[in-house]
């Protein structure tokens, strides 16, 4: 690395200042010597008002650019392209699929001709050719999931014996897609599928479900007027572009129904009471694209940056992703490991708030298990629980849309439903129907008092052909209508799996249906069984788009149970709004601090002054946990001269380590639209004294939280892991098991062992291929 000007010589125009502001380049914590450079830079910055102003400006611009760039449209590879890649991965010797860099049409044409001459050999028979045409149609459909309307490819099928080469040309003309790429991809896909199906002795005619082929050849048969659908879709899409609570607020100013709906559903989706709902993805808006490379937040100097905050809504995808990788015998990508998400996957035991406060805070301090001269501070916030008695009556309809052949998932669904029945009370009702060609109702709305019938109904559940989506959902809503309870819990639970894909041309009608019913008071929950990570309705070709409903994925039976049980909860009540967390470190006691979390757009330092920042609400029963690692000042150093201390906010008592303040407003009683400013802001404050005690003496919850974060540090091979070892993580996890009523902590322990085995194996020269 070239020598760069020392921070003392920086001007507001030094490129190094940008690197410092972005914590990158020579200020990337993984670059040797960064700590000294950072310290020098912080000193220089603390002395200069203009540098500090410049840094603020740089960060603001960077945030803006990042926000806008991450809003750009997301495209994924078409199913056909992906399948072509996978076919090649399965058998690289066969060579790459044919393709050419010449202009598509001619070359694609000849490719298709060659391809068809293979497939339509007399020996293979006419039926095979027809089935092949159908399957091309399906492959092409999955290639453009977001473009409803008639598929030219389907015309091949309905036309019967069109010349294939002509068909391929018409496709390229209609879709203005390069024929060559589609052709080669579909080609590879078909050959792979053909081979597999023939090997399984499956008749080729069985490929397309009858429901699909007839439906797709007569597209757009929904009764709704196309114009109103288009207008609605436009409206909903507009809303979906708004990535955050605040932009939803901006939109709601126009009082558009979509925005209002968004706001209502936001209130609803904000639930994430950890005991019942770990790893549940509940969302109603388009998912914000995630940062692909994540960095841990480095240490900050308490002298220059005494204030911090942490996210009240950490994501929940990291833990399932890691589990999936480990279960597949792979170490997860370090990018997938997000410390704050791991930490909040689990629930911890916090005392419920007493008195009139809606939220309680609990803080535990001990020496860091990986750097004994540091402290590890665990902060837990717990919202007042929802009143237990008096749940409104529930009218539940379960639509099972599992693909045939996934018997494991079916029995898994059955077990979850049985547990759901256990949780129903006498006056509640449950109906059950299958989404398939017949759309059979296997259990009409039945009172929960008749438990035997319910259990019998669940026992007869099976998959009956490919799920259809729209038709099944219509029937489910019709069943829900039969027992509609005003003011009660009216909910359709739609169970799907990874294979599910909404029928071609029905996505808009689905959107409309779901929206109407949601406004009518029948809520929809889509549950993806065996789906790892969040359901991303807007980007998956297999899901209808979201409109005011919740989406949850369940990768394990325990998660499926939690999801279904949650659906029985009434709409969560907000106990506090405009919640802000302000952690102030006492520079007399704290030299440096670090939030154990990945960096994100929202900065860990200092809550922003902007009023739009304060939109976070907390729902009944919700809890949030954060861990800070603290480098204490040396004891003889506790009265330091005021270098840079003009930035330091006054902490409480001088012996306190930190001061925690949770600000909030009590929720509006009526409409959400009430002005927040009309209600007084309140806050909860506590000083936290410094304690030096070994982590061995800490509570089980503390040890477990340390184990979870330690596991993340090890998986990331974090530069901050100190002298942490797998041995230590395992011991902490074992000692931190606690009562573990749902078995989540036991599962974690298994994952720790697995990760340890893999990582230690890798160090000893593990290679996945010889």
């Amino acid at each position: 690395m070239k020598s760069t000007p020392s921070p003392a010589d920086w001007t507001p125009d030094s490129p190094e200042l940008t690197a410092f502001a972005l914590k990158d380049g020579t200020f990337d914590p993984s670059v040797p010597g960064w700590a000294e450079r950072r310290a020098a830079a912080e000193q220089a910055v603390a002395r200069s008002v203009s540098l500090r102003a410049e840094i603020g400006e740089i960060r603001r611009m960077a945030d803006d650019v990042e926000t806008d760039l991450t809003r750009e449209a997301i495209h994924r590879l078409s199913a056909a392209r992906r399948e072509a890649v996978l076919a090649y991965a399965r058998n690289p010797e066969r060579g790459l699929p044919r393709r050419s860099s010449a202009r598509p049409s001619q070359d694609g044409n000849s490719g298709w001709q060659r391809f068809w001459s293979v497939l339509t050999r007399p020996a293979m028979g006419y039926g095979l050719a027809a089935a092949t045409a159908l399957s091309i149609g399906l492959a092409l459909w999955s290639a453009w999931p977001s473009e409803p309307g008639p598929s030219p490819a389907v015309a091949i099928l309905s036309g019967g014996s069109n010349a294939p080469a002509e068909a391929s040309l018409s496709i390229s003309a209609d879709r203005s897609m390069p024929t060559q790429a589609t052709a080669t991809a579909a080609d590879a896909l078909l050959i792979a599928e053909l081979r597999e199906d023939i090997l399984r002795g499956k008749s080729p005619q069985a490929w397309g479900s009858p429901g699909r082929s007839t439906e797709s050849s007569t597209p757009s048969e929904s009764p709704e007027s196309p114009a109103s659908v288009a207008a609605l879709v436009a409206q909903v899409k507009r809303y979906k572009l708004a990535p955050s609570a605040d932009s939803a607020d901006v939109l709601s100013g126009s009082a558009s129904p979509a925005a209002e709906l968004a706001q209502k559903s936001q209130a609803r989706q904000a639930t994430s009471a950890p005991p019942a709902t770990p790893a549940i993805q509940a969302k109603t808006s388009a998912p914000r694209p995630r940062a692909q490379t994540t960095r841990e937040i480095p240490f900050q100097s308490a002298a220059t940056t005494p204030r911090s905050t942490f996210s009240l809504k950490p994501g929940n995808t990291s833990y399932p992703q890691i589990r999936k990788a480990l279960q597949e015998g792979q170490l997860p990508s370090p990018d997938a490991v997000r410390l704050e998400e791991l930490l909040n996957y689990f629930s911890y035991d916090y005392p419920a708030p007493s008195g009139s406060d809606p939220v309680s805070a609990q803080v535990e301090v001990a020496d860091s298990p990986w750097s004994p001269d540091h402290r590890l501070v665990k902060i837990g916030l717990q919202a007042r629980p929802a009143p237990t008695a008096g749940r409104p009556r529930a009218n539940m309809v379960v639509l099972v849309g599992l693909s045939p052949g996934s018997s494991a998932r079916l029995s898994w669904a059955q077990r979850s439903l049985q547990a759901l029945i256990e949780a129903l009370d006498g006056p509640d009702s449950l109906a059950l129907l299958i989404d398939g060609p017949q759309g059979r109702i296997i259990l009409p709305p039945t009172a929960a008092a008749d438990r035997a019938s319910l259990i019998r109904g669940v026992g007869t559940l099976r998959a009956e052909g490919a799920p259809r989506g729209l038709e099944g959902l219509r029937r489910a809503y019709a069943l829900a209508d039969q027992r509609h309870i005003p003011g009660g819990i009216n909910r359709v639970v739609w169970i799907v799996d990874r294979e599910f894909s909404a029928e071609a041309g029905t996505r808009e009608a689905l959107e409309l249906l779901i929206r109407e019913q949601t406004e009518w008071g029948v809520l929809l929950s889509v549950v993806g069984l065996g789906v790892e990570g969040p359901l991303e309705p807007s980007s998956s070709p297999w899901m209808p788009p979201p409109v005011g409903s919740t989406y949850a994925s369940a990768a394990t039976p325990a998660e499926a149970l939690a999801v279904l049980r949650r659906e029985l909860q009434p709409t969560p009540t907000t106990v506090a709004e405009n919640v802000t967390v302000d952690v102030r470190f006492n520079p007399a006691r704290v030299d440096q601090w670090r939030l154990l979390s990945q960096e994100s757009r929202e900065s860990a330092t200092a809550p922003k002054a902007s009023p739009t920042h304060s939109g976070v609400q907390i729902d009944a029963g919700q809890s949030i946990t954060a861990l800070y690692e603290i480098v204490p000042t040396r004891s003889n150093d506790s009265t330091r001269p005021g270098s840079g201390s003009e930035l330091a906010a006054p902490a409480g008592s001088s012996s306190d380590l930190l001061n925690l303040e949770v600000g909030y407003r009590s929720p509006a009683n009526g409409r959400v639209q009430d002005s927040a400013e009309s209600r007084p802001a309140r806050s909860l404050q506590m000083g936290v004294a410094d304690v030096s005690r070994s982590s061995d003496a800490a509570t089980a919850d503390y040890k477990f939280a340390a184990a979870v974060v330690g596991y993340g540090l090890m998986l990331r091979d974090s530069p901050f892991k100190g002298d942490l070892t797998w041995e230590k993580v395992q011991t902490l996890a074992e000692e931190g098991q606690g009562p573990d009523r749902e078995g989540y902590r036991a599962e974690f322990l298994q994952l720790v062992r697995k990760a340890r085995g893999l990582q230690e194996g890798a160090v000893q020269g593990y290679k996945p291929k010889e």
């Binding site: 070239k2 490129p15 690197a19 990158d24 380049g25 020579t26 990337d28 740089i58 611009m61 803006d64 650019v65 990042e66 806008d68 760039l69 809003r71 750009e72 449209a73 997301i74 495209h75 994924r76 590879l77 392209r81 992906r82 890649v85 996978l86 090649y88 991965a89 399965r90 058998n91 066969r94 860099s101 473009e147 897609m177 390069p178 597999e196 288009a230 879709v233 436009a234 572009l241 708004a242 955050s244 605040d246 932009s247 694209p289 940062a291 692909q292 490379t293 009240l312 809504k313 597949e328 792979q330 990018d335 980007s539 902007s610 739009t612 939109g615 976070v616 290679k767 996945p768 291929k769």
Partner: protein, 194 residues
């Protein structure tokens, strides 16, 4: 070759490729598109990169999979450019299609309004600055990764980013001075934590 006879290693390899595609295809397509302009060509480049990935050993790319994929996409885009002299595409390609799959022009126009100013300012930057800005802020690559990918020195990357941010800021401030734009400026900063 019979798929039922494939070894565990092949299965692992296939799974690795599948997971890599799932995780990274979207960001790669976005990047590729900023290089070549149109979506089908971008998809071609990305598919090609994944074909290449099939030939790699997972172990050999551990910890550097993302930069590797970006590098392959970039090199292919360069090759294509050399062949077809169409690098880089006209800048308007960058500003286009913020709204993605909006069905009607009016919906996407409206949707785009919010981000148009900053995005169109971005297109006024020189191509090398634009690329570095994207890699840093859209794909979250570090200076070092960008430097490996673009074969620029890290200092150079830092300089480009610094200059780009500064230029954007100055131009934005100039825009901001005009009354019609300041409204939009406030709209594009929801800056909420969630």
């Amino acid at each position: 070759m019979n798929p039922t006879h494939t070894s565990n290693q092949t299965l692992e390899q296939v799974e690795w490729v599948r997971v890599s595609m799932e995780r990274h295809e979207a960001e790669l397509i976005r990047y590729a598109r900023s290089l070549v302009g149109d979506l089908p060509s971008a998809e071609d480049l990305v598919q090609e990169a994944f074909f290449k990935l099939c030939k790699q050993e997972p172990e050999s790319l551990r910890g550097r999979l993302v930069p590797w994929l970006f590098t392959v996409v970039r090199n292919q885009a360069m090759d294509r450019h050399r062949r077809e002299s169409r690098w880089p595409r006209a800048p308007e390609a960058e500003a286009a299609e913020v709204a993605g799959n909006s069905p009607t022009p009016s919906a996407s126009v409206q949707a785009r309004d919010d981000v148009r100013n900053l995005m169109s300012l971005l297109t006024t930057l020189p191509p090398n600055q634009r690329e570095v800005v994207r890699l840093k802020f859209q794909n979250q690559l570090s200076y070092r990764e960008i430097s490996q990918l673009t074969r620029l020195s890290e200092t150079n990357v830092g300089f480009l980013l610094h200059t780009a941010l500064k230029t954007l800021r100055q131009r934005f401030e100039r825009l901001d001075a005009g009354p019609s734009v300041s409204q939009t400026r406030s709209n594009i900063h929801p800056s909420s934590p969630q």
